[in-house]
């Protein structure tokens, strides 16, 4: 078999004939025409060759040994490539039957032997042209088909992508819409809580719980807050969807130790959420029980934190159905939890501040001292209410006035120095009544954050009383010194005679009468000295009233006077004594010894200062609530000057009068005694005519009442 590889552009022709000369002849003629020739010497070989090389045209002889040309034709036509490959039957049998048989076996045409070469070549060319055209058409159609299929596939794909895109886009849009809603929600809540009145925080939380609960379509939203030490918690707010039973009243003062798993997780600032309680770890069995009893199928909780410490929690419950929680829901809770935390913290700070302010104002209100706060130049910014009681100014009236304006000009330097030293100063401040009061002020400079002075604060106290007491004490001290100095002088006088005459007696010799005289003088002066000392002690006791207790009892002044006058009658023969007393009650509630001292002193004075004798008249009368004692003499009398000083200590009306001895303390002591009894002592005198001394003491019943 000669195998020639068919070329692309040359038609190939398979010649099947058992006559090799025919085959050669066909080859020669057809090759000359530019065809490629395949040869087969039997029908079987021809079919194999066809299957292998797919020739463009088959030329088959009818009469062959083995399978004949018809059968070969039929078999070739049944092959896949055969249907489109033209088969020419070569036959010597030019009869109708053979021709019919040839067409029936699938041949496209026939050529009779002996071969008319021009006809054969023409037929071959025509068949091949036809085949080529068919093939081209078929190819074109197939290509078209492919193209249509491809396009259809492309369109289907595009359509699917579009569908998908539409789906994605609508999902995105829905999510975006939800997102915007969420953001609006958060914006609304946070706007509401910014600058919220601390008194309205509860109301705000309640409203926000309802808003977010509705938004998240949960059944319950709630807030728990922990106590300061974290040992218990309260369900302070709850919102429930319709048909859900509130539980808030059952959840007060719950010990946090009951929920160790939940609290520990929240304390680590982790969120707690589950779709089904079965998801929770075994150690959360108490919590599982709790949620079950609460009928919470799904729960999400976020911690509420103040200053990085767990202060409470905010949560959602789903009661009707189990649901999983999206990130958006958890984020929403977290953000709202933070808003609540800020609001609650703000409220707490505000309440603390208000409480402190109230406390402070209560303190300043209650203080007797004044607190004043001023600016850096002394302008008053705050004055506590006590400035009304102490200084007569309403606190408001002092505002914006300078604190320096009312300070006594002489004390300003001292005051300013004290301010600079944060020290205490005493200064005079102008009371609203125009008088200065003494103040003691502790001042402190106030500094701002940068260490600059921004004002001053004064704690002021009225020390007028203390100042008065100090002055009184000073006066008292001066009086005491004066008294001591006067007393010493008075003691020196008799001592001068005692010392002088005794020394003279020791160092010189005198006749007996002179000796006696000097010794008598010494004795008199020593007696006088003793009297002065007694009177001094007496007066000092009377002046320090607390050391002197009057031993009071009912005393009838008329009776007492009659007793006291007896000794004087004997020693003063030139005087005529007379006592005039009313018949009514002359009783007083007095210390009889002290009153006797006064009466004796007055009688003694009356005698001493009426050296020429005469009548000494004592009159006792009851005047209103008092018993009045009067003693009248007809003696030397007292000048106006003497009357002024007569009750002063050591004052003696006429010391140069040797006939009159005395310590100069008698009347001063008498005055003190009468003062102690709540009575009065006075005199009425005319120089060189006579004197009347009076005293009065309240009636007994007057004194008895308070006793």
């Amino acid at each position: 078999m000669n195998v020639v590889q068919p070329s692309e552009d040359k038609f190939s022709v398979l010649v099947i004939d058992d006559d090799s000369s025919i085959r050669r002849l066909v080859r020669m003629r057809l090759q000359n025409q530019g065809y490629l020739i395949l040869e087969a010497e039997s029908g079987e070989e021809g079919i194999k060759t066809f299957e292998m090389f797919h020739p463009d045209l088959v030329l088959v002889d009818v009469l062959m040994s083995g399978i004949d040309g018809f059968e070969t034709c039929r078999r070739i036509c049944q092959l896949p490539e055969g249907a489109t490959t033209p088969v020419l039957v070569l036959t010597a049998l030019n009869d109708t039957q053979s021709i019919e048989q040839a067409f029936n076996s699938g041949a496209i045409d026939f050529v009779t032997k002996p071969i008319q070469w021009t006809e054969l070549l023409h037929r071959i060319r025509r068949l091949l042209q036809l085949k080529r055209a068919e093939e081209t058409l078929r190819d074109h159609r197939a290509h078209l088909e492919v193209q249509v299929q491809q396009r259809t596939a492309e369109l289907t794909e595009a359509n699917q992508a579009l569908q998908q895109e539409i789906q994605v886009r609508s999902n995105v849009e829905a999510a975006l819409k939800r997102r915007i809603e969420l953001e609006n929600l958060i914006t609304n809540i946070s706007t509401h809580f910014i600058n919220i009145n601390p008194l309205k925080v509860d109301e705000g939380i309640q409203m926000a719980l309802s808003t977010i609960g509705n938004f998240a379509t949960v059944d319950r939203s709630y807030v728990f807050l922990f106590s300061d030490n974290g040992s218990w918690m309260d369900n302070i707010h709850e919102w429930c969807a319709e048909g859900i039973v509130p539980q808030i009243d059952l959840l007060k003062s719950i010990p946090t130790a009951v929920f160790p798993w939940l609290i520990q997780k929240l304390a680590r600032l982790e969120n707690v959420y589950f779709k089904d309680a079965d998801e929770l770890p075994p150690e959360a069995y108490v919590e599982v029980k709790f949620f079950t009893r609460r009928q919470s199928k799904s729960v999400v909780m976020v911690p509420i934190v103040y200053n990085s410490v767990l202060a409470g929690m905010l949560g959602f419950d789903s009661v009707c159905e189990a649901r999983s929680w999206s990130n958006d829901i958890v984020s929403l809770l977290k953000i709202v939890g933070e808003i609540f935390s800020h609001a609650l913290e703000h409220r707490r700070t505000e309440q603390t501040l208000l409480h402190r302010e109230k406390q402070l104002s209560e303190i300043t209100d209650a203080m007797l001292d004044i607190v004043i706060k001023t600016g850096v130049d002394g302008e008053i910014e705050f004055a506590s209410p006590s400035c009304w009681t102490l200084l007569g100014y309403q606190p408001e009236a002092l505002l914006n006035k300078s604190i320096y304006d009312n300070v006594h000009p002489d004390d300003l330097l001292l005051m300013k120095a004290a301010i600079q030293n944060d020290g205490i100063a005493e200064y005079r401040f102008l009371h609203v009544n125009g008088a200065y009061v003494w103040l003691e002020a502790l001042s402190n400079l106030l500094f701002d954050g940068n260490g600059c002075v921004e004002g001053m604060v004064f704690a002021i106290r009225d020390i007028t009383e203390r100042k008065d007491a100090e002055r009184e004490l000073q006066d008292l001290n001066r009086l005491k010194t004066e008294f001591l100095s006067t007393a010493a002088h008075e003691l020196r006088t008799p001592l001068t005679s005692i010392r002088g005459f005794s020394e003279i007696l020791i160092t010189r010799d005198f006749q007996a009468d002179r000796q006696m005289r000097y010794m008598r003088l010494i004795n008199e002066q020593a007696t006088q000295l003793g009297k002065i000392i007694d009177d001094l002690l007496d007066i000092s006791r009377l002046e320090a009233k607390r050391n002197l207790t009057l031993v009071r009892e009912p005393v009838n002044l008329a009776t007492l006077t009659r007793e006291l006058i007896q000794p004087f009658i004997e020693v003063a023969p030139s005087h005529q004594f007379q006592i005039e007393s009313q018949l009514n009650d002359m009783c007083v509630f007095a210390d009889p010894n002290r009153i006797s001292q006064v009466i004796k002193n007055l009688i003694s004075n009356a005698i001493k200062y009426s050296p020429n004798g005469g009548a000494v008249t004592i009159t006792l009368v009851s005047v209103q609530a008092e018993v009045q004692f009067q003693i009248k003499d007809h003696g030397v009398g007292l000048t106006q000057e003497q009357q002024v000083h007569i009750f002063e200590k050591f004052y003696r009306a006429d010391a140069s009068n040797t006939a009159i001895s005395g310590t100069g303390l008698g009347l001063a002591i008498s005055k003190l005694i009468i003062d102690l009894h709540g009575g009065r002592i006075w005199l009425d005198s005319e120089y060189e005519v006579g004197t009347s001394f009076y005293f009065s003491v309240p009636h007994m019943y007057q004194e008895a009442i308070p006793a």
Binding site: S485, R492, E503, A655
Partner: protein, 122 residues
């Protein structure tokens, strides 16, 4: 013979001083208040005055008497020895400010006074 004027409101003191000085050869004068003392000093011009301060009987005290005498040329040279119970530093200062020549405080030793007087009048 030197003249000594004793001025004191207390009669016992006047007596004590005069007894003290009676052993010397002096002419003794006495006054019991400031006014009398001033008049007597101007009239008698004594060599020495023993002068008390507190004398309620007159209108002027011993300090004033001293000032007045020391301010007059005629009486300036009278030696004035204060004899007083006012013995404190402040009292002495007042005396010396008024121009007194010596200061003696009661109670005093008559012997010391005698020696002082002898010294002054020597």
């Amino acid at each position: 013979m030197k003249t000594i004027l004793i001025v004191d409101d207390q009669p016992e003191v006047r007596e004590l001083v005069s007894v003290t000085l009676e052993i010397g050869d002096y002419k003794i004068l006495m006054a019991d208040n400031g006014d009398k003392a001033l008049a007597m000093a101007q009239r008698e011009h004594p060599d020495l005055m023993l002068l008390d301060i507190q004398m309620p009987g007159g209108s002027i005290d011993g300090i004033r008497v001293c000032q007045l005498l020391k301010s007059e040329p005629q009486t300036r040279d009278i030696y004035i020895l204060m004899l007083t119970a006012k013995g404190q530093e402040w009292d002495r200062q007042q005396g010396f400010d008024a121009g007194v020549d010596g200061y003696f405080v009661k109670p005093f030793s008559p012997l010391d006074l005698m020696m002082k007087v002898e010294e002054v009048l020597a």
